[in-house]
Symmetry: C2
Subunit: 229 residues, 2 copies
């Protein structure tokens, strides 16, 4: 068992990149895991590979799970991604996505003998998503410790969400301190194949606000620079 090994869920977006950078700064050997779940924005998987290399993860693995078969989200189905803020749980919510991703991370952690699972879940900007709250992370940790060989044998598994209570501006600043190259990350829900962003969706809006609040130039590439320039 390697108490300093961590499986890090890496989406290719900015939050999970900063979570990886934090775990690396703490000295963890990081095994980055991305999930190809049928998302529209597959350029985020290419972004994740770049981020994993820059931040010196031990390895980067992509596991496929076909969430399109389950449906129910604007990120996997032919449902429009909203381009204005809305009330309640947004249509970009993918049912049980974080549960599924953490379950896959848990499986890999068992194989590796890793006892830390790190994710970029954040309650501040995503309060509309049920699976981005502290109660969710705590419940998953409780599950992890009864679901696994490690749990049965008394080696506690921790689920860590170091960004849980940070604002987007603090996340940007922490990432810059720790060497995250945000130009490698893709946040947009409908980024094109090269990772260029729409500039309209919730994820684009939150990202832009974060950079603005942090007083830092935003390296995001937009699809139509002219229109925004």
């Amino acid at each position: 068992m390697n108490p300093d090994d961590a499986v890090v869920l890496l989406s290719g977006g900015m939050d999970s990149a900063v979570a990886l950078a934090i775990a690396r700064a703490e000295g963890a050997r990081c095994h980055a895991l991305s999930v190809a779940y049928g998302q529209r924005h597959t350029s985020e998987l290419a972004a994740a590979a770049l981020v994993a290399r820059t931040l010196k993860a031990e390895q980067h693995k992509i596991v496929s799970v076909d969430l399109r078969a389950i449906g129910g989200s604007a990120l996997t189905d032919d449902i429009a991604v909203p381009e204005a803020p809305s009330e309640g749980i947004p249509p970009t919510y993918v049912p049980a996505r974080n549960t599924i991703m953490l379950a896959l991370a848990l499986g890999w952690a068992e194989v590796l003998g890793a006892r830390r699972i790190v994710c970029g879940v954040n309650a501040v900007d995503y309060s509309g998503y049920p699976d981005c709250r502290p109660a969710f992370v705590e419940a998953f940790e409780a599950l992890a410790n009864v679901a696994t060989r490690a749990g049965i044998e008394g080696r506690r598994i921790r689920i860590e969400a170091p960004l849980m209570h940070m604002g987007k501006d603090a996340i940007v600043q922490r990432g810059l301190e720790l060497g995250v190259d945000f130009s490698q990350t893709v946040s947009c829900y409908q980024a094109d194949i090269q990772g260029a962003a729409c500039g309209q969706c919730d994820a684009c809006r939150l990202r832009a606000e974060g950079f603005r609040a942090a007083g830092v130039a935003d390296p995001t590439r937009y699809r139509d620079q002219g229109e925004r320039g």
Copy 2:
């Protein structure tokens, strides 16, 4: 929301078939879910389709997740399936498999508005698997109720494991009472493409013992009938 809708995890084996039959007998509209996870014994997915039809599930869905990428099990890797009983957690344990399958069932339940998830998990015969115990099912139910829109909105989701405390013989008897055609089910960890069983692995042994203890003829087709006849 449909309180009488249930997502039923259906592996193609005998336990989950009986779990489906029990849910149907209780009047639930059952949505059967099988997971193609890279298992050696893909004939169980064909078996699941047959069972779903016989037991009048509303629909049967197969979701793919590539657990071979994670590895660590005799069911997905080039690790031998043991052909004699062993101590502790057996090599056929797939890390976090039931967590992953329940997570997928939870996602589909959210999309359907179903508030029951039914599985064939059984603690009696599989005491070596950490994710086949009551504590696991309880922890997953707690997670489900913080991870989902339904949970947030106060519509409780239940995880049901009606076979949890039944012996294999009782499972056989209950299944026969409820119209399960066990000849459609495949239990063997290394069944061939037609579903013929090896007769040697743990799953074959437990199944044969169940039918013997129930005093019922076992309809299992073995690969080499001559050798066992």
